[in-house]
């Protein structure tokens, strides 16, 4: 019944796509702008990299907009101008990111030797040459802190998320509000709070376990929010199936909902860990520092990667700064690994 067999030879096209030919005038204008920039810099007192960039932007955009005006009128010129500004704005934003990554890798790489992962700073000072010493104690300290903070915050966060998505009780609005409020607490406030609560008027001294407390406080809102989003993604049919089989709510949640959301919950935890792995300020109030690994988490100082970097920065010597960059590189690698794992877990489908 079809009458279009002949159309199999017709090919789909996109005539609205800008062809290379159409770009030629714009391209020549950019070259003209470059020439104009060069001339202006040559002939006027404006100098320096900023002058080049700014002038090229002004000429380039101006010429393009003028071309649009002549061909298609005022609104097209405004549109071209807006497009140029958007693209430039976007690029400006990404320069710092690129610079941050580049600087960290290039500067940190110098100090990146296998032995830094096996040595601590107990017999070296920050200004010593980089052939000695390492950051093993910082890595282990960070791992301790992450582990303790996770153990404390995970139950609270997941259970709060479950309350919000499964029970949806009368207090839900209020609790949502509280979680949002908590996400705004600055890390330094969390740090001095623990100090004020536990250390100021008691005989307790700072220790790893106390240092993990403000981190737990910072972690809870992140994990709760992500967990909530993930739990909401679990189709309600699954819950209904469980209840229809006669299971209690708690059994339904424990055996059906949570496993279904497992990947997402893992993502939530990873994101929470990424949030706190690089926190420096809280540690300054609740944890003494240390030059070696302190296996006693209940007493005595401990180092951590951000702490290590901070000390290097404060030290100010060349050796100190170099250690700081290397420490940041290691920390960044840790954060990137967490970031990538969160992506991987987040994209695995809910079974």
């Amino acid at each position: 019944m079809t009458t279009f067999t002949s159309t199999n030879s017709v090919k789909p096209t996109k005539p609205w796509k800008v062809t290379k030919r159409q770009l030629i005038p714009s391209f020549s204008l950019l070259i003209a702008a470059a020439i104009a920039t060069y001339l202006v810099v040559l002939l006027t007192p404006m100098k320096g990299k900023l002058a080049y960039v700014l002038l090229f932007f002004i000429f380039g955009t101006g010429f393009q907009a003028a071309l649009s005006w002549s061909k298609r009128g005022k609104s097209a010129a405004v549109d071209t101008l807006a497009a140029s500004i958007m693209m430039s704005g976007g690029m400006i934003v990404f320069l710092p990111v690129v610079s941050l990554l580049y600087t960290t890798v290039v500067k940190g790489f110098k100090g990146l030797r296998p032995q830094i992962f096996t040595h601590t700073m107990e017999s070296t000072s920050y200004s010593d040459p980089l052939t000695s010493g390492g950051l093993l104690h910082a890595i282990i300290g960070t791992l301790f802190l992450i582990a303790i903070a996770t153990v404390i915050s995970l139950p609270l966060s997941i259970l709060t998320a479950l309350y919000l998505t499964e029970i949806k009780g009368k207090a839900s609005g209020f609790i949502q509000f509280l979680v949002q409020a908590m996400s705004g607490v600055p890390s330094v406030v969390a740090g001095i709070f623990i100090y004020a609560a536990l250390l100021l008027t008691t005989d307790l001294r700072g220790s790893t376990i106390i240092g993990a407390l403000p981190l737990a406080i910072l972690m809870i809102p992140t994990v709760t929010r992500t967990a909530q989003e993930v739990l909401l993604l679990v189709p309600s049919e699954l819950r209904e199936a469980g209840l229809a089989l006669g299971a209690t709510q708690w059994k339904t949640v424990a055996t059906i909902v949570v496993p279904a959301a497992r990947n997402g919950l893992i993502t939530a935890v990873i994101l929470g860990v990424a949030r706190i792995a690089g926190e420096t300020a809280p540690l300054l109030f609740t944890l003494g520092t240390s030059d070696k690994v302190n296996w006693n988490i209940f007493s005595g100082g401990q180092n951590a990667l951000p702490y290590y970097v901070w000390s290097g920065l404060r030290d100010g010597t060349e050796g100190g700064l170099q250690r700081a960059w290397t420490g940041i590189l290691v920390l960044l690698m840790l954060v990137l690994t967490l970031f990538v794992s969160a992506r991987i877990f987040g994209s695995r489908k809910v079974k």
């Binding site: 320096g48 609104s75 405004v78 549109d79 807006a82 497009a83 958007m86 704005g89 976007g90 934003v93 710092p96 990111v97 610079s99 941050l100 600087t103 609270l156 259970l159 709060t160 309350y163 029970i167 009780g169 209020f174 509280l178 949002q180 409020a181 908590m182 705004g184 607490v185 600055p186 890390s187 330094v188 406030v189 001095i192 709070f193 004020a196 609560a197 809102p221 709760t224 209690t248 709510q249 708690w250 059994k251 990424a274 792995a277 690089g278 926190e279 420096t280 300020a281 951000p306 970097v309 901070w310 920065l313 700064l321 940041i328 920390l331 960044l332 954060v335 990137l336 967490l338 970031f339």
Partner: protein, 326 residues
């Protein structure tokens, strides 16, 4: 099935449907509710401990704690003066700089990503922005100190040269290093991911039918954005900016690394000293006496209240935009 006029049937009462929950479910509910209340507990404790322990400072200084601009620990029996004023002003100035630089860039980026960027570039850039959001603040501090500082000094010189007649850009003497301006720039970069993310989300939700109506009338892309997207997303962007502000208010190590912390008022952003409350707490902590420590706790309480108010307002605005926009 005709209704007769003789015996109209009244609509029956609604039945009360009740279940007797199983014990395990009761426990389940109880545990979840209790655990959720932990957030309330923590927040209250924060407020409580900071204000109580720091109460002494409020007591002795009175309202001057906030308004006075002098912070000197008394030596050898002379009275202390703890005035947070300078640091409050510093906090506001640095945050304002961060907003002025960071919010327009974020909005431009969000518009670029939503309406201009080709698909593959968009995905790469969005990943980059999310990545930036997870960088630790100390990285920004270190980078700001080593990399950004020289550039920022150069720009500060330019700004002073051409705009120095504006009071806020004036300088009593050339000292461009480690000024609130640089701290503001670093903070601007730190808040860009948040503000861009929120703005992008809002712009993505612009109703498609209005966008199509504008295009069908012969609008260019920018004309459409101006007529449809910006009115729709304006309040959401404000909410996002406030979230960024909340972040900027409490930032510690990044500011401490690039700013020359001096506890005096400085309105001239290009001039090399200043401070914010967070970095002041960190700076003075090491050598603080007991009294001064309590005063620092009180300062922390003020910071807590500031960030709390800003954050709650921001969340309220963002959620309201998302709701009413639909």
């Amino acid at each position: 099935m005709t209704l007769t006029a003789n015996s109209p049937k009244a609509i029956p009462e609604k039945r009360q449907i009740t279940t007797k929950p199983r014990v395990s479910d009761k426990i389940f509910r109880g545990v979840l509710t209790a655990m959720s209340m932990s957030s309330l507990l923590i927040l209250t404790l924060i407020g409580l401990f900071l204000s109580l322990r720091g109460f002494q400072a409020f007591q002795t200084q009175g309202i001057g704690f906030i308004t006075k601009v002098d912070w000197t620990a008394g030596v050898d029996g002379s009275p202390d003066t703890f005035g947070l004023g300078a640091m409050i002003i510093g906090t506001l100035i640095i945050s304002a700089t961060a907003l002025v630089v960071g919010v327009p860039l974020s909005v431009l980026t969000a518009l670029f990503l939503t309406f201009y960027a080709p698909e593959r570039l968009k995905r790469a850039l969005v990943t980059l922005v999310d990545l930036m959001a997870s960088f630790p603040s100390i990285l920004f501090g270190l980078w700001g100190f080593i990399v950004l500082m020289p550039m920022a000094e150069y720009w500060a010189q330019l700004i002073h040269k051409y705009l120095g007649w504006i009071p806020v850009f004036g300088m009593p003497s050339p000292a461009y290093t480690r000024s609130p301006f640089i701290a503001g720039l670093v903070l601007a970069i730190m808040i860009i991911p948040i503000v861009t993310s929120v703005s992008r989300e809002i712009f993505n939700q612009t109703p498609l039918d209005r966008i199509q109506a504008a295009y069908a009338l012969g609008a260019t892309r920018w004309a459409m954005i101006k007529a449809v997207v910006l009115p729709f997303g304006a309040s959401g962007v404000v909410g996002g900016a406030m979230l960024g502000l909340g972040r900027a208010l409490g930032e510690t190590v990044a500011v401490y690394s690039v700013l020359n912390i001096v506890f005096k008022v400085n309105f001239q952003v290009l001039y090399g000293f200043g401070g914010n409350i967070a970095s002041m707490i960190v700076g003075k902590w090491g050598e603080a006496s007991l009294t001064e420590s309590k005063a620092l706790l009180a300062a922390g309480f003020v910071l807590f209240v500031m960030t709390l108010v800003v954050n709650l307002l921001a969340n309220f605005i963002v959620r309201r935009t998302v709701k009413t926009g639909k």
